[in-house]
C-alpha cells in the first residue's frame, strides 16, 4: 500500500463532518463504563503510599519492621525493592527517583514507601507504623529564588547545560535554551517604541476528575498484567517493564476508560509501585490516589517568570522581539521551557527574534505535560506586550496583529518556514464576528490574543478487521481522551463507504498491537486517524481482490465505491456490485479473514493557530471578575466530528479561564502545599462561565489525507493572555501576574488609585 496521504482537493465528505453519538457515550452517562478504580480481581489487596511530609529531606533510614508485623500486611516496598535498572538513562532514572524517593525526598508528597494490605484500614495503619528518619534540608519552591546564588541545591549532579564554558558548580538550572534569528540589538535600534515587562504565572494542575488508579497483577512466573487509567498504555508498559527489570513481553497493559488527562497522564506515578507490591505480595494490588495525592504527587505544570521586550516602528511594524523565560518544572529536569521559548513569538513575522529559556528545578512535584506544555504562559507574556504596544502605536490591537502576523512562507521564530497556516484567517474571522463589535457595559473590558501550537504525529499502529457480516472492528492503541473513537469510526466509515454505526472502534491492549505513542501532542485524530484511513485502504485492496477472485477477473479491474466492489469498466466484465457484507460472508472460501493494517511514524502534523476574544467584568470594589463573553476561532484543518472539535475549543478556553483567574499552587513557608483539594484549588464551576462561542476554520493540512490538524492544545494557548488583556482593560491597570485573583486585582486597583 503506497503511503498516499496527499490531499484530494476539495473532497465531498459523506460521514466525516457529521455529528453522530459517540460509541462510549451511553456507557459513560449510565455508569457502565469502567474507569481506573473500577477493576477488581480475586484476592485483591489495597496498596497505599507513604509520602514525605517535608519539601526537602535526606532519608537516612526507613524502618518497616513494625509495619511488617501488623496482621493483614502482605508486602511493603521501599527504594530497596526498586533497584536501579535504568542503565545510564538519566531521564528514566528521574522517573524511578520520582516514583520512589532514593537518597532524598525532593518535595512534599514524594513517595517514600508503599504497603499492600488486606484492606484500607490495615494499609493506613501500616503506613503509620513505618518509621522514616529524615534530615530536613532547606528548600526552595519559587523559580526566581531557585536560580539565585546560594539557593538550596536539589541535585549535586546538575551543571547547567548550554552554557559556555560549562559551569563547575552544581545549580538548579538544568539547561539554557536559545532560539531565534536576526539581530535583536540592531532591531531595537530601529524601533520608535519599546515595551519591556516582567510577568509571573503560578503552577496549575490539569484538574482531571479521575484520580490516578491501577490494578497490578504479577504472578510467580514473572508475567504481569496492569489495568490502568492512562493516556498511553504502551508507554506505561515499556516504562514499568524497564523500571522493574522485566521483559516487555511479560507485561500486558490495558487502558481503562479515562476521566480526563490533559497531558497529566502521559507518565507513570503509582503503576511501577503497584507492580512492585504485587510482585512481592504475589497477589493483585490496586492503588488509587486520593485527590490530595493527585495534587501533591502527580504532575502539575510549571510556574514561570518571563521578561518580554518588543520594539515597533511608529507605523506598527515589529522591529525586534526578545524574551527570557524561566520555568520551574518541579524536582527534576524537564520543565516545558523549551516549548515556551520556541512558541513565544510563533504568531509573528519577525526579522529579529530571540528567546532564551531556563529549565529550573525546585522542591515541587515533577511537572507533567499540560495541554500545549509551556506555551500558554509564554503567550500570556508576549500577547500582553503586543496589546500594550498596539495601544501605544495607536492601532487597534487586531490590526496590529494582522500587520505583523506570520503567514505562509514566514520563517518562524523557532526555525522552520510555515506552509499554509490559518492565523490571518482566524484574525479576519474575528474581526467580522459580532462579538468583536458588541457594546460593553460599565466595568467591562475586551481583550484578545492569538496562540500557536506545533502538534505532533508519532508512532502509531492500527488494525482494521472486517467481520463476517461486513461490519468492521477497528483496534487502535491510543487511549480515547476526547472522543477519538467516534472520529476513528467516522474516518473508517468514510473510506470504506459504509455507515458510521457499522464500525466499532476499541482501544486494544498492549498485546494486540505494535507500539503506539501516548495520546498527546494533539496527535490522535491526526496520526491514528491517518493510520485508520490507510488501514481501511489496505482492507479495500484486499476486498477488491476477493471480489476479483469471485468474479474471476484481475484485481486491477475492480474498484471500490460507496461500500461496494465494482468492475472498473465495461470491458472488465458485467457483474453486479458486491457489498462489503457479501464479500465478507465468502471470506472463508476466498482466503480467510480480511483485515487492513497500518503502522508508521506519522509525519506532517500541521501547526495550528487560534484567536480568542474575551469580555471581562471587574467589580472595582472587590476585585471580583466575571467572564461575560468568550469566543474561540481556531483552524482545525478538517473537523472530523465538529462537536468534539468545539468541545476541545471550549475546554481549552475554560481551563484557561481557571488558570488566569483563580487556579494556583499555594505553598507555605514550610514548602508544603496549602490547597491540595478542589475546595481551595479553584477550577471554574459551570455557573462561573458564559457559553463559550466557537468558530471552526478549515485550512487543510497538506500532511493528512482529509486535511486534519490537531486541535486539542492550541485552544489553551491564547486564553491567559486574552483574559489578562480583558481584565486589564476593565480594571484600567495592566495585570502581569497570574492568577488574577480578587486580592491581586484589588491590590492593583489600590496601587492605581494611589498613583493617580
Amino acid at each position: 500500500m503506497p503511503l498516499d496521504s496527499t490531499l484530494q482537493g476539495k473532497r465531498d465528505f459523506k460521514v466525516v463532518g457529521t455529528r453522530p453519538l459517540r460509541p462510549d457515550g451511553i456507557d459513560k452517562v449510565t455508569g457502565r463504563a469502567k474507569f481506573g478504580a473500577d477493576a477488581t480481581a480475586p484476592g485483591m489487596l489495597v496498596g497505599r503510599i507513604l509520602r514525605s511530609p517535608h519539601a526537602h529531606a535526606r532519608i537516612k533510614k526507613i524502618d518497616t519492621s513494625k509495619a511488617e508485623k501488623l496482621p493483614g500486611v502482605k508486602a511493603i516496598v521501599t527504594r530497596e525493592d526498586l533497584p536501579d535498572h535504568t542503565d545510564g538513562d538519566a531521564l528514566l532514572y528521574d522517573v524511578l527517583y520520582n516514583i520512589m524517593a532514593r537518597e532524598k525526598a525532593l518535595y512534599e508528597g514524594h513517595a517514600v514507601a508503599a504497603v499492600a494490605a488486606v484492606d484500607t484500614r490495615t494499609a493506613r495503619e501500616a503506613l503509620k507504623l513505618i518509621k522514616v528518619d529524615y534530615e530536613v534540608l532547606p528548600h526552595v519552591t519559587d523559580v526566581d529564588e531557585a536560580m539565585k546564588p546560594g539557593a538550596p541545591i536539589l541535585h549535586s549532579t546538575i551543571f547547567t547545560d548550554g552554557l559556555e564554558p560549562k559551569p563547575k558548580k552544581p545549580s538548579n538550572v538544568v539547561r539554557r535554551y536559545e532560539f531565534g534569528h536576526g539581530d535583536v540589538e540592531a532591531g531595537f535600534k530601529k524601533a520608535d517604541i519599546i515595551v519591556e515587562r516582567t510577568f509571573k504565572t503560578e503552577a496549575t494542575h490539569q484538574g482531571y476528575i479521575e484520580p490516578h488508579a491501577c490494578l497490578a497483577n504479577v504472578g510467580p512466573d514473572g508475567q504481569g498484567e496492569l489495568w490502568v487509567c492512562t493516556q498511553g498504555h504502551f508507554m506505561v508498559r515499556d516504562t514499568c517493564a524497564r523500571l522493574l527489570g522485566m521483559d516487555i513481553s511479560k507485561l500486558r497493559v490495558t487502558a481503562s476508560e479515562i476521566g480526563g488527562g490533559f497531558g497529566g497522564k502521559t507518565t507513570v506515578f503509582i503503576e511501577p509501585v503497584a507492580l512492585a507490591l504485587s510482585r512481592k505480595a504475589n497477589r493483585p494490588v490496586k492503588v488509587v490516589m486520593s485527590r490530595e495525592e493527585v495534587f501533591k504527587a502527580s504532575g502539575p505544570t510549571a510556574s514561570t517568570s518571563i521578561d518580554v521586550k518588543i520594539g515597533v516602528t511608529k507605523d506598527g511594524r515589529i522591529t525586534a522581539a526578545d524574551a527570557t523565560l524561566r520555568y520551574q518544572g518541579g524536582a527534576f529536569a524537564g520543565s516545558p521551557v523549551e516549548f515556551g521559548a520556541m512558541s513565544a513569538f510563533a504568531c509573528y513575522d519577525l526579522e529579529n527574534a530571540r528567546t532564551i529559556g531556563y529549565d529550573v528545578v525546585t522542591n515541587r512535584p515533577k511537572q507533567a505535560a499540560y495541554r500545549a506544555p509551556g506555551a500558554p504562559m509564554a503567550a500570556f507574556a508576549v500577547e500582553s506586550v503586543i496589546e500594550e504596544l498596539a495601544r501605544k502605536v495607536g492601532m487597534e490591537p487586531i490590526d496590529f496583529r494582522m500587520k505583523n502576523a506570520a503567514r505562509e512562507g514566514t520563517r518562524s521564530s523557532y526555525g522552520p518556514t510555515y506552509g499554509p497556516i490559518g492565523l490571518l484567517a482566524t484574525l479576519e474571522k474575528a474581526k467580522q464576528h459580532p462579538h468583536f463589535k458588541a457594546p460593553l457595559s460599565p466595568n467591562q473590558g475586551r481583550g484578545m490574543a492569538c496562540g500557536f501550537w506545533f502538534n505532533f504525529g508519532g508512532q502509531t499502529c492500527v488494525s482494521l478487521n472486517v467481520n463476517s457480516d461486513g461490519t468492521v472492528a477497528l483496534s487502535v492503541g491510543t487511549p480515547d481522551i476526547g472522543g477519538s473513537r467516534a472520529s476513528m469510526c467516522l474516518m473508517a466509515a468514510e473510506e470504506l463507504g459504509i455507515p458510521y454505526d457499522k464500525v466499532r472502534a476499541i482501544v486494544a491492549d498492549t498485546s494486540a498491537l505494535g507500539y503506539n505513542d501516548v495520546t498527546d501532542g494533539s496527535r490522535t485524530t491526526f496520526a491514528t486517524g491517518m493510520a485508520t484511513i490507510l488501514a481501511a485502504r489496505d482492507a479495500i485492496k484486499k476486498l477488491t481482490a476477493r471480489a476479483a477472485q469471485i468474479w474471476g477477473i484481475s484485481a486491477e479491474a475492480v474498484t471500490w465505491e460507496k461500500g461496494y466492489a465494482k468492475p472498473a469498466g465495461s470491458n472488465a466484465g458485467n457483474f453486479p456490485p458486491m457489498s462489503i457484507a457479501e464479500i465478507a460472508a465468502q471470506a472463508g472460501a476466498t482466503g480467510g479473514p480480511i483485515a487492513g493494517h497500518h503502522e508508521y511514524s506519522a509525519d506532517g502534523a500541521g501547526v495550528s493557530f487560534a484567536t480568542h476574544i474575551c469580555d471581562a467584568e471587574v467589580d472595582p470594589e472587590t476585585g471580583a471578575t466575571k467572564i461575560v463573553r468568550y469566543t474561540v476561532l481556531q483552524d482545525a484543518g478538517k473537523a472530523v466530528h465538529p462537536s468534539y472539535v468545539e468541545g476541545q475549543f471550549q475546554g481549552g478556553a475554560v481551563q484557561g479561564i481557571g488558570w488566569a483567574l483563580n487556579e494556583e499552587y499555594i505553598y507555605g513557608k514550610d514548602g508544603r502545599l496549602q490547597n491540595a483539594g478542589f475546595l481551595d484549588y479553584r477550577i471554574p464551576v459551570c455557573s462561573d462561565l458564559p457559553m463559550i462561542d466557537t468558530v471552526i476554520l478549515e485550512i487543510p493540512n497538506p500532511g493528512h489525507p482529509y486535511g486534519v490538524r490537531g486541535v486539542g492544545e492550541t485552544s489553551i494557548v491564547p486564553p491567559l493572555a486574552a483574559i489578562a488583556n480583558a481584565v486589564s482593560a476593565a480594571a484600567g491597570v495592566r495585570l502581569t501576574s497570574l492568577p488574577m485573583s480578587p486580592p491581586r486585582i484589588l491590590a492593583a486597583l489600590d496601587r492605581k488609585a494611589a498613583a493617580e
Partner: protein
C-alpha cells in the same frame, strides 16, 4: 431526644451528633476524625419541623436548607437568613445540610451564622441536665469549637417575630459563583420607622476573625439614621475596623478588611429595601 443525649453522655470515646452530615461525613471520610459513636438526630420528631409561633419561628435542628427555602412564611419574614442558608454548597448539599450543623461546625466562614446572629436568633439546647436557651453568638467559641457540653444537642433554632418595616440580607464574597468558602460574609438586619429612620439594627461578619462576630459599632452607625451615604460609610468603616483576619490561601487580611466594609454596605442597602425603605 432524651435517649440521644443519654447515649452521647455515656460514651467514653469520641462522640458526634449527625445532622445532614455534610461536614461530619466529609471529615470522617478524609480521616480527620475517627469517632467511636455517631448519633443521627434526623429521626427525632422535634428536630424535623418549622413551627410558626406567636413569638416567631421555631426551626428544628435537622431541617435542611431546601426545606427552609420552601417555607413561604419564613422566607418572607427572614429572607436574609434563608438566602444565607441557601448559599451552602449546591443543590445536592441543600437537600442535607442544616443551619444547626453549620453553627456547630463552628467555622468562622459558616454562611448561615452571620445571618442568624444579625437576626438575634437563639438556640434551644437539650442535655443531660435539661434544657437551656442561649443566643447564637454564644455557641461558637473558636474555629471548630463550640460551648456545648458533653451530651448536649441543639434541638432547635428560634427566630424572633418581626416588627413591621424590617428586613435582613446576607452577602458573601467568594472568587467563584458557588461551591466555595466565604472569604468574607456580612449580614445586616434592620427595622425602620414610618419615616424611614432606622430604629434597630444588627450587623454580623463572617470569615474575618476566629469566630463569626457581631459588630455593635456597625449597628450603631445605622440606628437613628436614614441609612444615607454618611451612615453607610460609617457602617463600612466600623466593619473594617472590627476585622481581625488572617492572611491565608483564601485571601489576604488587607483584602478581607476592605471587602468586609463593601459587603456590609451592600447588604445594608438590600436589607433597607426589604424593610420598605426608599
Amino acid at each position: 431526644m432524651k435517649e440521644a443525649t443519654g447515649l452521647l453522655a455515656r460514651e467514653k470515646g469520641r462522640a458526634f451528633v449527625l445532622a445532614g452530615g455534610t461536614d461530619l461525613l466529609v471529615r470522617l471520610r478524609t480521616g480527620f476524625i475517627e469517632p467511636d459513636l455517631i448519633v443521627d438526630i434526623k429521626r427525632i420528631t422535634a428536630t424535623r419541623s418549622i413551627d410558626v409561633r406567636s413569638n416567631g419561628f421555631r426551626i428544628g435542628a435537622a431541617v435542611t436548607g431546601a426545606e427552609l427555602n420552601e417555607h413561604a412564611k419564613l422566607t418572607k419574614a427572614w429572607p436574609g437568613v434563608v438566602e444565607a442558608a441557601n448559599l451552602i454548597g449546591s443543590k445536592q448539599v441543600q437537600g442535607r445540610c442544616t443551619m444547626t450543623g453549620n453553627l456547630c461546625n463552628a467555622s468562622p466562614a459558616a454562611d448561615s451564622v452571620p445571618a442568624l446572629m444579625a437576626a438575634a436568633a437563639k438556640v434551644v439546647i437539650v442535655g443531660p441536665k435539661g434544657k437551656r436557651t442561649i443566643p447564637v453568638e454564644q455557641v461558637p467559641v473558636a474555629p471548630g469549637k463550640t460551648s456545648l457540653k458533653k451530651g448536649e444537642i441543639i434541638e432547635s433554632i428560634l427566630l424572633p417575630k418581626r416588627p413591621p418595616r424590617s428586613g435582613d440580607a446576607y452577602l458573601r464574597f467568594i472568587p467563584r459563583t458557588e461551591m466555595d468558602i466565604a472569604v468574607v460574609g456580612a449580614a445586616v438586619s434592620v427595622t425602620l420607622d414610618a419615616k424611614g429612620m432606622c430604629t434597630d439594627a444588627r450587623v454580623a461578619l463572617g470569615a474575618v476573625a476566629p469566630t463569626v462576630v457581631l459588630v455593635p459599632e456597625a449597628a450603631k452607625a445605622l440606628i437613628g439614621t436614614k441609612m444615607d451615604k454618611a451612615a453607610l460609610d460609617a457602617l463600612a468603616a466600623a466593619c473594617s475596623a472590627a476585622c481581625r483576619p488572617i492572611d491565608d490561601k483564601r485571601g489576604t487580611s488587607e483584602f478581607r478588611i476592605k471587602v468586609a466594609g463593601v459587603l456590609a454596605r451592600r447588604a445594608a442597602q438590600i436589607a433597607r429595601k426589604r424593610a420598605g425603605g426608599k
